[in-house]
């Protein structure tokens, strides 16, 4: 059964074309879709095909009269609830001839038909029908929403299980690595000086390699930790946090003669402070990793954008191809930008930190370098843990 594209349909049943025509004329100014049937059988056929707000049913028809048709309608589970308006030539005891009242609304129209009365009666059923549809829709929406909530919960659970697994895996991976570093140190101590000079480079390489792996595993741990609810927002001075981060890079900054520039920062912003420190540390490290050598400039930018601040870290001297600008925030990216230093997880951690703040992060690259920008809501945004 199909609903006629949002439009309310009304069925008129009469064996005389003139009567059908008259009723159609009366109802033509309403916004209803008018269907006609010239016998009880045809009416039943149409009722099975479409949904009607009501059915105007002439009582006096050959073969199957209006009452008989109504009886059949009331016995069919699919159509039994359609409201019936009997059209009759005279007022009287005919009401008693029909017994199926309990299954659905029944009304009567007495000929000669008064257009105003016909229209108002049909309108009552039309409105009722619309209400019924609206109610059904809202129930369907509610059911769908409930289903969505369930699915979402499943997804969240699966995701948190996965994160938990990664966390444990990273934890366990770290242990043998840490021991390996001790073994390398112990081995070095055991070697006589003349042998050590010969193998020192090799030892350094083993050490660096295990160091890198350890760093990677630590980054994984950080990444998985970000999903957990252990952070609280606080009001901080972002510039102070950045200067703090820069302190850890002081040797590199001096060594590479990096020029640092700050835009004018707003005094206070509400963020997860420890995460934001990590964010800036990673972005600064990222700049160093991607500028191959020599001096360069680093800008800490801020733009006012209505309800949020757009912060950013820009560096000269490096370039990211356009097709990789969104890739760089993914953990396992195909286009590997770095045979350079860094674990490659750094920027995914940045993305996750910004996600956690409900903000957005993007990278731009042009002739003047690489600019990574991200947003923080001015009013502290919505904390998921609230």
């Amino acid at each position: 059964m199909d609903t006629i594209n949002g439009k309310v349909a009304v069925l008129i049943v009469d064996d005389k074309p003139a009567n059908l025509y008259a009723l159609k004329e009366i109802l033509k100014d309403t916004h209803y879709d008018i269907h006609t049937a010239n016998s009880g059988m045809e009416a039943l056929k149409l009722l099975l095909q479409h949904e009607y707000a009501c059915c105007l049913l002439d009582i006096r028809m050959p073969e199957m009269d209006g009452f008989e048709t109504a009886e059949l309608i009331r016995h069919d589970a699919q159509v039994q609830h359609v409201p019936i308006i009997f059209v009759t030539a005279e007022a009287g005891d005919q009401k008693d001839l029909f017994k199926g009242y309990e299954k659905g609304a029944v009304d009567f129209l007495i000929k000669p038909l008064e257009p105003v009365v016909v229209r108002s009666k049909v309108k009552v059923f039309g409105d009722l029908y619309l209400q019924k549809i609206a109610l059904k829709r809202s129930q369907e929406t509610e059911d769908l929403n409930k289903k969505l909530v369930f699915l979402n919960q499943d997804l969240k659970m699966a995701n948190s299980e996965l994160e938990h697994f990664t966390h444990i895996a990273a934890h366990d991976l770290r242990e043998p690595l840490r021991r390996q570093r001790s073994f390398i140190d112990l081995l070095r101590d055991e070697l006589p000086p003349d042998v050590l000079t010969k193998v020192d480079d090799l030892m350094q390489r083993i050490y660096c390699s295990s160091d890198q792996m350890l760093e990677m595993v630590n980054d994984f741990r950080t990444l998985t930790k970000l999903g957990q609810d252990e952070f609280k927002r606080s009001n901080v001075n972002l510039k102070e946090i950045i200067e703090d981060c820069l302190g850890d890079f002081q040797d590199k900054i001096n060594g590479r003669r990096v020029q640092i520039y700050f835009d004018l920062f707003p005094p206070i912003v509400s963020v997860f402070a420890s995460l934001v420190k990590r964010l800036y540390t990673n972005l600064i490290a990222n700049a160093f990793d991607h500028v191959p050598q020599g001096s360069f400039a680093m800008y800490f930018t801020v733009e006012n954008s209505g309800s949020s601040w757009i912060y950013g870290v820009k560096n000269t001297g490096s370039y990211i191809p356009q097709d990789q600008l969104t890739q760089i925030f993914k953990i396992f990216r195909k286009a590997d930008l770095s045979h350079k230093e860094g674990t490659g997880i750094g920027l995914s951690i940045c993305k996750k930190i910004i996600d956690r703040h409900g903000g957005r992060i993007k990278a731009q690259s042009g002739d003047d370098g690489v600019h990574i920008q991200f947003t923080f809501e001015k009013e502290g945004g919505i904390s998921e843990s609230d």
Binding site: H171, E175, R179, S182
Partner: protein, 137 residues
């Protein structure tokens, strides 16, 4: 936290490599204590029975790994502290790699004398053992 005599330093850890590393660094440190190791909590508790009987000396220090099968470090610790005679044994809980706030809190509640994240590399290890002579915390 300080090692006050030259009795054994006891290490309880299910990982044999961990014990090997610790024993190597202990030798390189200024500490003169021998190392006695157990690969599980029950083994160590069993040893303490002999200490109770006066057959074995009270350890100078116990380094207790937290994550072990059978009994974890906390379970071992609380079992040891049940015995009044062992109230004074210095016990350090060894965290494998994070000093999770909850774990630290629990260590203090169970009357550990300290906690330490497993050192990595020569420098950290030797510094750790030497700090036990100079005393800290």
């Amino acid at each position: 936290m300080k090692v006050i005599n030259n009795n054994e330093i006891v290490m309880v850890d299910d990982n044999e490599a961990e014990i090997y590393i610790a024993s190597m660094y202990l030798e390189k440190s200024k500490l003169k204590n021998p190392l006695l190791s157990f690969s599980s909590g029950p083994d160590f508790l069993n040893y303490l029975e002999s200490v109770k009987k006066g057959v074995k000396p009270i350890p100078a220090l116990v380094l207790l790994d937290l994550r072990m099968p059978l009994m974890d470090g906390f379970q071992v610790l609380s079992k040891v502290r049940e015995e009044p005679m062992f109230d004074e044994i210095p016990i350090m809980i060894i965290f494998s790699n994070s000093n999770d706030e909850e774990d630290v809190k629990k260590a203090w509640e169970l009357r550990a004398n300290g906690y330490q994240i497993k050192p990595s590399g020569s420098e950290e290890y030797i510094r750790f053992f030497n700090s036990l002579i100079d005393g800290y915390g």
